[in-house]
C-alpha cells in the first residue's frame, strides 16, 4: 500500500506540473483547462483516471480547500501526518496529500503568469492562502474539480451551500452585486459545457432543509437556477430539494427551469427522504446533506462515497419464463452504445443464466413464486458481488491525496475515501425496469390464468418467435392492464415487486450488517431492450423498456397525474436510494406562461404529498424531435433528459432517441 500511495503521489505531482495553464477568454474570470485534448499526456503514464483504484467521480469532493486554501490544506496535512498514533499508511496518505496540495498551489500560481492584471491577485491569493472572495472561491473550485478526475468529470453536490459564505461576505462588504455573481456562474456553467456534455456526472443539488428543519435555500441557490435559465444548455444537471418550507421564489424558479423542457430541475423531496434515512440509522446531520451522486441516485455530500450495482427485472422475467436459459436472440449485434461516440462493449445483463426457478405454468401463484425465486437468486448474487467489491476496496482501495484531503475527517485521520474511511458510504443496488417486468406478469395473469385465452406454451412459442405469426395474441397482451394508468389491475404488481426488492435488501442488510440502499433506478434500459427478447406484456425484441419506476414508454395513456398516482401505490419511500418517477409532458400541455408555472407547481406539491421521493419533469415537442432526427445539424441545441442527466438529443443513439420520444405522455 505504501508503494501504491507513493506511486499515486508521483503521478499527481507529475500531472500537475504538466497540466496546461489556460487564461480565461477576454472578459471572463475562470482560468484552467477545459477539454482533455488540452493536455499533453506523457504516453508512459497510466491514464490519470486510473490514478486510484476505485471510483473517484460519483460523489462530491470535500471542501477543505475552500476554507483553508491549497497551502492551508498542505500545511494541515503535514501537521496531522506527524501526530502520534498514525499508522504508516495514514501518515503516507497525509504526506502525499501535503505534497499534492503544495503542487496544487503551484499550479494556481502558474495561472497568475498568464491571466490579466486584474485576475493576477486572485491566483496569487489561491497559491498562498484561502479564497477570500466569491470569485476566488469559484476559481479554486474549478481548478480542483477539473484536476480531481482529469480526463473525465465528477459529481459536484451542494455547490450553493459551499459557495454561499463567500457570496454573502462579498455582498456585505459591497464587493459584488447579484448581477456580478450571476455572470460568474453563467461563465462556470458555460465551462462545464465546454468540458463535456451528456453523461458527465456534473450534478448540482440546490436547496434543502437542515437538521433543525430550517430552509437552507439561499440567494445563491436562486442565482444558480437563473444561470441555468440564462445559459440554457445541458450542463450542469440541476436538481432541487423540495420541502414545505422552501422559499417560494426558489420554487418558482425551479418551475421556470422545468418549462425550458430539458428535464431539469429534478425534484427530490426532503420530507420523503430525510426521515427515512434517519430511520435507517443515518445521523440526521448527514441525512440532511443528501444530494445526487452524479446521476439520479443519492449520496451524502462530504460524508461518504457510493458504490452500486444494478439488476434488470425484465431480464429476470425472461429467465423465469425460460427456466434460466433464455432463447437465443436473432443473430445480430446486440451490443449497446449510449452515444454515437461510444463504441459497443458490454453486451450482457450481468445476470447469471442457468438458474431454474421452477415450474410456473399451472397457476398465477406459481408464476409469481417462480419469478420471486429467480429475482431473489439474482438479487442475492448481485449483493454478494457488491460485498466482494467492498472487501476489495477496503483492502486495495486508493484515492489520490487531493481527493482524500478535501474531506475534513480524512484530512485529520489520514484515511482514504475509496477504502471506506468516511462515515456514511452508500452501498446501493438498483432495480431497473420493474414496471415492465410487472406488466408482463399482469398480462400473463389476465390472458393466461384468468381468461384462459392462451396457454403458457403458446405464450412461450410466441416469445421465442418474437410474436411473428402471433399478432392477435400480441395485441391482446398489449391491451392487458399496464402500470401508469391509475388502474389497480396494472399497478398492483409493480408495487408488489418493489416491496419484494426492498424486503430482499432489508434482509441482506440485517444479515450482513451493511446497509444496502434500495433504488428503483435503471440506467441500462436501452441496452436491456436489445439483450432481452420479446416479453409477455406484448413488447417485441428491441421495443423500449421502462426506466426507473416509470412506465414502459407508450403504455401510460392517462396523463401524468394518473402516472403519479400509479407510482404512489407502491411504498416508494422504502426505496430511499431513490425511486425516480419520470413524466414527459407534451409541449402543448405546458406552454411558457404563468398558468403553466402554476400547473407545474401543483404537480410538484402533489408528488410530495403522494410520497414520491423523486420526480423528474420533462417537456418535449415530439414534432421538433422528429425534425432533429432528420436534420441534426440544425437542432444541436435540443436538450432532453436521458436518465439521471440531460444531453443533446442529436448526440443520442437511434434507440435512445426513440425511447425519449416514446415516453412522452399522451
Amino acid at each position: 500500500m505504501l508503494n501504491a500511495i507513493e506511486h499515486s503521489r508521483a503521478l499527481v505531482l507529475a500531472l500537475l506540473e504538466t497540466l496546461p495553464v489556460k487564461a480565461p477568454a477576454a472578459g471572463n474570470v475562470i482560468a484552467g483547462f477545459e477539454k482533455e485534448t488540452d493536455i499533453d499526456f506523457d504516453p508512459a503514464w497510466p491514464h490519470p483516471f486510473f490514478l486510484m483504484t476505485g471510483d473517484n467521480r460519483h460523489y462530491p469532493m470535500g471542501t477543505t480547500y475552500l476554507r483553508m486554501g491549497f497551502s492551508g490544506v498542505a500545511a494541515r496535512a503535514e501537521i496531522n501526518a506527524n501526530r502520534p498514533g498514525k499508522t504508516s499508511v495514514q501518515r503516507a496518505n497525509l504526506l502525499a496529500a501535503a505534497d499534492e496540495y503544495r503542487a496544487m498551489a503551484a499550479f494556481a500560481l502558474r495561472h497568475a503568469d498568464v491571466v490579466s492584471e486584474e485576475l493576477k491577485p486572485d491566483y496569487i491569493q489561491l497559491a498562498k492562502g484561502n479564497p477570500l472572495t466569491f470569485r476566488q472561491a469559484v476559481q479554486a473550485f474549478y481548478l480542483m474539480w477539473r484536476v480531481r478526475a482529469v480526463g473525465c468529470t465528477g459529481s459536484i453536490g451542494r455547490l450553493d451551500q459551499h459557495l454561499f459564505p463567500f457570496y454573502q461576505a462579498d455582498l456585505a462588504a459591497g464587493r459584488i452585486t447579484e448581477d456580478d455573481a450571476l455572470k460568474i456562474l453563467c461563465e462556470l456553467w458555460e465551462k462545464f459545457n465546454q468540458v463535456n456534455s451528456g453523461d458527465t456526472l456534473v450534478t448540482i443539488m440546490l436547496g434543502g432543509r437542515n437538521e433543525l428543519g430550517e430552509d437552507d435555500t439561499n440567494d445563491l441557490s436562486c442565482l444558480m437556477l437563473r444561470a441555468s435559465l440564462q445559459v440554457r444548455k445541458a450542463e450542469p444537471h440541476i436538481s432541487v430539494r423540495f420541502h414545505p418550507g422552501m422559499r417560494p421564489d426558489f420554487q418558482a424558479l425551479a418551475s421556470q427551469v422545468h418549462l425550458m423542457g430539458h428535464g431539469q430541475a429534478a425534484l427530490y423531496y426532503d420530507e420523503n427522504i430525510i426521515p427515512v434515512l434517519v430511520e435507517q440509522g443515518i445521523p440526521i446531520e448527514y441525512a440532511c446533506r443528501y444530494c445526487t451522486n452524479g446521476c439520479t441516485e443519492v449520496v451524502l455530500d462530504g460524508a461518504g462515497k457510493i458504490e452500486f450495482d444494478n439488476i434488470d427485472a425484465v431480464k429476470v422475467m425472461e429467465l423465469t419464463l425460460f427456466r434460466g436459459v433464455p432463447p437465443a436472440l436473432p443473430g445480430e449485434n446486440i451490443g449497446y452504445y449510449w452515444t454515437r461516440n461510444t463504441p459497443p462493449e458490454e453486451r450482457k445483463s450481468g445476470l447469471e443464466t442457468g438458474y431454474d426457478s421452477g415450474d410456473w405454468q399451472q397457476s398465477y401463484d406459481e408464476l409469481q413464486s417462480a419469478f420471486d425465486r429467480q429475482f431473489a437468486y439474482q438479487v442475492n448474487r448481485k449483493l454478494r458481488l457488491l460485498m466482494e467489491r467492498r472487501k476489495n476496496m477496503q483492502t486495495y482501495g486508493l484515492a489520490h491525496g487531493l481527493l482524500n484531503a478535501s474531506f475534513d475527517s480524512l484530512l485529520e485521520s489520514g484515511g482514504d475515501v475509496v477504502r471506506g474511511d468516511l462515515p456514511c458510504d452508500v452501498w446501493m443496488l438498483f432495480a431497473g425496469s420493474l414496471p415492465t417486468a410487472a406488466d408482463s406478469l399482469t398480462a400473463l395473469r389476465q390472458r393466461v390464468f384468468e381468461e384462459k385465452e392462451y396457454t403458457s406454451t403458446e405464450i412461450l412459442d410466441a416469445l421465442k418467435s418474437n410474436f411473428e405469426g402471433y399478432e392477435i395474441m400480441r395485441q391482446q397482451l398489449l391491451q392487458a392492464a399496464k402500470f401508469g394508468n391509475d388502474d389497480d389491475a396494472g399497478d398492483a404488481e409493480p408495487a408488489r415487486l418493489m416491496g419484494l426488492f426492498c424486503d430482499l435488501l432489508d434482509a441482506f442488510s440485517k444479515e450482513s450488517g451493511v446497509l444496502i440502499w434500495p433504488a428503483l433506478i435503471g440506467y441500462l434500459f436501452v441496452q436491456e431492450a436489445l439483450f432481452t427478447g420479446a416479453t409477455p406484456d406484448g413488447r417485441k425484441w428491441k421495443d423500449p423498456i421502462g426506466e426507473h419506476f416509470s412506465p414502459t414508454p407508450g403504455r401510460a395513456n392517462q396523463g401524468p397525474t394518473a402516472l403519479m398516482l400509479s407510482a404512489a401505490k407502491a411504498p416508494l419511500k422504502r426505496a430511499f436510494g431513490v425511486a425516480p418517477v419520470h413524466i414527459s409532458l407534451p409541449r402543448n400541455a405546458a406552454r411558457e406562461d404563468a398558468s403553466s408555472l402554476q400547473i407545474l407547481k401543483n404537480l410538484s406539491v402533489a408528488a410530495e404529498k403522494l410520497g414520491l421521493n423523486m420526480l423528474d419533469i420533462s417537456i418535449y415537442d415530439a414534432e421538433i424531435m422528429r425534425k432533429a432526427q432528420q436534420d441534426p445539424e440544425h437542432h444541436a441545441d435540443l436538450i432532453v433528459r436521458v436518465w439521471g442527466y440531460s444531453a443533446r438529443f442529436v448526440d443520442l443513439s437511434d434507440e435512445m432517441q426513440e425511447h425519449v420520444i416514446a415516453r412522452i405522455l399522451a
Partner: protein, 273 residues
C-alpha cells in the same frame, strides 16, 4: 342518476383555469361543420374504427367491438352514475390546487344539466370547483339548475349573423345569444371562446360583429379567446364512417392572422372599432 359521456380526460390544461379533468358528455343540438368532437354530437352509442390500429383479424366481424384485440374498434359512449363520475374526478384531487377542478364539455354538456347538477353537488361538497364548456343551445332553465354549483362558463360564440349561424351550425344563434346575455347578467365568470375557421368567420367584419355583441353584455367577459381551426374532427369522422361536412377549402388560420383578429376583436369588445 345516470349521465352519458364519451370520454374522461385527465390533466387538461386548456379547458379552464389550472389543471383539470374534462368530462365529455354525449349529445349536442348543434352540428357545427368544423366540430372537433363529432363523436359527441349524437346521443346514441356509436362505433369508431381506427384503421391504423386494425390488424384485419376479423374477430369483430365488423361490429363486435368487445372482441377487437387491438382496440382499433371501440364503442363511443358510456352511461355512468353521478357518484361514480365524481369519484373518478376526485382521483386527481391532489393535483387541482386552488384553481383547478373539473370541466364538463361535450357535445353539449348542458343537455344533461340534471346529471351535471347532481355530480357538481357531490364534487362541490369535496371542494372541487366545476366549469362548464357550453355552446349555449339549450333552454336557460338548464343553466339555472347549475348556477348554485357552478359560476364559471366557457361559452362558445361562433358567428354573429343569425343566418350564417344556421348555415354552418344547423341552428340560428338567437337562443345562444340570449343565454349568453342572461349568464352575464347572473354575474358568473365567463370565458368566451371563438373557433376561427378560414373562409367562415375569419374576416374582420365577423369579428367586429362578435365584438359588438360582447361589448353589450351586462358584465364584460373575463377572457375572450380565439381558437384556431384544427382538423382533429376530420379523422374522427373517418373513424365514425360519416362525412366531414366542412364547407371550406382553406379552414386554417395562421398565427399572424390570428393575432390581427384578436386585436380587432379586442377593439370591438371595448367599443373602439
Amino acid at each position: 342518476m345516470t349521465g352519458r359521456i364519451f370520454q374522461i380526460q385527465r390533466f387538461c390544461t386548456h379547458d379552464g383555469p389550472g389543471l383539470r379533468t374534462t368530462v365529455f358528455m354525449k349529445g349536442c343540438g348543434l352540428k357545427c361543420q368544423w366540430c372537433h368532437n363529432p363523436e359527441g354530437i349524437s346521443w346514441e352509442y356509436q362505433l369508431m374504427r381506427n384503421q391504423k390500429k386494425c390488424i384485419a383479424c376479423m374477430r369483430c366481424q365488423g361490429t363486435q367491438w368487445e372482441r377487437c384485440p387491438s382496440g382499433a374498434l371501440q364503442q363511443v359512449g358510456m352511461d355512468i352514475e353521478a357518484a361514480t363520475l365524481a369519484e373518478l374526478v376526485m382521483r386527481d384531487a391532489p393535483f387541482y390546487g386552488t384553481d383547478g377542478g373539473v370541466t364538463f364539455s361535450g357535445g353539449e354538456s348542458m343537455l344533461q344539466a340534471d346529471f351535471l347538477a347532481e355530480t357538481m353537488a357531490l364534487l362541490s361538497s369535496c371542494g372541487i370547483a366545476s366549469v362548464v364548456d357550453t355552446a349555449g343551445f339549450v333552454p336557460f332553465s338548464a343553466y339555472e339548475k347549475l348556477l348554485p354549483y357552478c359560476n364559471h362558463f366557457l361559452f362558445d360564440v361562433k358567428l354573429a349573423d343569425k343566418e350564417k349561424h344556421r348555415r354552418f351550425t344547423g341552428q340560428d344563434n338567437e337562443l345562444i345569444l340570449s343565454n349568453l346575455f342572461r349568464l352575464s347578467q347572473s354575474g358568473c365568470r365567463l370565458w368566451i371562446r371563438i373557433p376561427v375557421i378560414g373562409q367562415i368567420n375569419d374576416d374582420e367584419a365577423e369579428l367586429c360583429a362578435i365584438g359588438r355583441i360582447l361589448s353589450k353584455l351586462p358584465h364584460p367577459p373575463e377572457k375572450v379567446e380565439l381558437l384556431p381551426y384544427h382538423d382533429m374532427g376530420r379523422e374522427k369522422c373517418i373513424q365514425l364512417g360519416t362525412d366531414y361536412p366542412l364547407a371550406s377549402d382553406s379552414p386554417y388560420v395562421d398565427n399572424d392572422r390570428l393575432h390581427t383578429l384578436q386585436q380587432i376583436l379586442e377593439q370591438a369588445c371595448t367599443g373602439h372599432e
